[in-house]
């Protein structure tokens, strides 16, 4: 896995470098014009934020059930990535919204709940950093609740009258828009897997280090 890291990273970087070219060739959306192209980065970031929240929640649930350290490492890594991709979503979204809706932010269901999900995982990171010993278990509990949030976020645009586009938009995109979208999505997904693996490795090394320190003291 370690050997794969650099090549995977280069592939992801190359895909990211090519993405704007691909995106520039995609047709303009009729009502929003140029600014709609933020979509090609906003959508993958958002989906990966939600996915990462679920991964962290599942890892946490597994950790609570079986107390395996690898589950906790997965949960921690995924939580950090949820914060990262959430930040990307919450910045690209308003930049798009400023032009498309006229306002930076709206307190509608999806935006509010996405922001809350992001904050839950920021709280997770704070807990891990400042909670002292035993914070692995506590943060696992938090992440389980965070994961419970995700289905609400996804269906919120279909259930409530909201200004955010519905989930029916993406499946019905014309080919010359969906191709660059899925290309960008693949780039983001590859990046996500790479970062997740690397982050988990960091945790693994850290716990190895702690073990060594403990052994030395004996």
């Amino acid at each position: 896995m370690r050997r794969m890291f650099l090549p995977a990273l280069f592939v992801a970087a190359a895909m990211f470098a090519f993405a704007p070219v691909y995106v520039a060739r995609a047709p303009f959306e009729s009502t929003m014009g140029l600014v709609q192209k933020i979509f090609y980065f906003h959508f993958p970031s958002a989906i990966l934020m939600l996915t990462s929240a679920i991964v962290s929640g599942v890892g946490s649930a597994w950790f609570l059930a079986r107390k395996r350290p690898s589950a906790d490492r997965l949960a921690f890594a995924a939580a950090e990535l949820t914060v990262l991709f959430g930040l990307l979503t919450l910045v690209t979204g308003p930049l798009w919204a400023r032009k498309a809706w006229g306002v930076w932010w709206q307190w509608d269901a999806r935006l509010t709940m996405s922001l809350l999900l992001w904050m839950i995982f920021v709280a997770y990171l704070l807990l891990r950093k400042y909670g002292g010993p035993g914070s692995e278990t506590l943060s696992a509990g938090l992440a389980v609740f965070g994961m419970a949030n995700v289905p609400f976020i996804y269906v919120s645009v279909n259930v409530w009258r909201t200004i955010h586009p519905k989930t029916t938009v993406v499946p019905t995109l014309p080919v010359d828009m969906s191709a660059p979208l899925w290309f960008c999505f693949a780039a983001f997904a590859l990046l996500y897997m790479t970062l997740l693996t690397a982050r988990m490795r960091l945790e693994e090394q850290r716990s190895q280090l702690e073990q060594l320190y403990l052994e030395i003291e004996d």
Binding site: T112, M113, L116, I120, Y130, G131, G132, S135, L138, N149
Partner: protein, 227 residues
């Protein structure tokens, strides 16, 4: 099943007995909530009168703040007297312990809200008591949702460092949907002609949240409290 409720009831009785004797948490929580409301009432004054719609928000903010305080104090008391460890060592179903603590804290907040609701109605000239049954259901559903998550987190943070500041950090992002639903429901009932259908919708949503949160908490209480 019977055993579950029996254990929970024992814990509720214990908490109520301790509280009735000292009334410490009840008085301090109540006073804090009232101070909160007063500060906001002063902040949201326009032309000498407080805004009616602000009353809905302030009510729920006061409940959230006071609730956080009450949760912290309740478990601090348990930690101080080492009774939490005794509770966990007792041959009782852990989820039943959680449920007992939950009922106790909901009762405490309910007592606070009995005084808070008329106060907010008075200070903000908001007809909060116009539809008492619906308002009561709304408050109950919202309080239970907030306390369900709060009890779990407060219990699990008892042994953590920086527990005082961590409880609000962990609790608020998860319970803000409950607060939002409560405020929206209250606003629906505060309209010129109270919008009962909308209020019922928010109550139904809150009940759904309650079921999800209480279930999740019952499942995770045991692994979270075990070292």
């Amino acid at each position: 099943m019977h055993e579950f409720f029996r254990v929970a009831w024992i814990i509720v009785k214990k908490d109520l007995t301790v509280e009735v004797r000292s009334r410490e948490i009840l008085y301090t929580t109540l006073f804090f909530a009232i101070s909160c409301v007063l500060v906001f009432a002063v902040a949201f004054v326009r032309e000498g009168a407080a805004l009616t719609e602000a009353g809905a928000g302030i009510l729920w903010i006061a409940i959230a703040f006071a609730g956080t305080l009450a949760l912290g104090r309740t478990f601090e008391r348990e930690r101080h007297t080492e009774t939490l460890r005794a509770l966990l060592l007792a041959p009782a179903d852990r989820p039943a312990v959680y449920f007992g603590k939950l009922v106790g804290i909901v009762a405490l907040l309910a007592a606070t809200e009995l005084i808070l609701l008329p106060l907010v109605a008075l200070l903000f000239q908001a007809p909060l008591l116009g539809r008492p049954l619906l308002m009561g259901l709304l408050m109950a559903a919202g309080t239970i949702g907030f306390c369900a998550v709060g009890t779990l987190f407060a219990a699990m943070l008892v042994r953590a460092r920086s527990r005082d500041v961590l409880l609000p950090i962990l609790l608020y992002p998860i319970t803000i949907p409950v607060i939002i639903a409560g405020v929206r429901g209250t606003l629906a009932l505060l309209e010129q002609v109270p919008n009962e259908a909308l209020a019922r919708f928010w109550i139904a949503l809150l009940v759904f949240f309650d079921v999800v949160f209480v279930t999740l908490s019952l499942w995770t209480f045991e692994p979270l409290m075990t070292e």
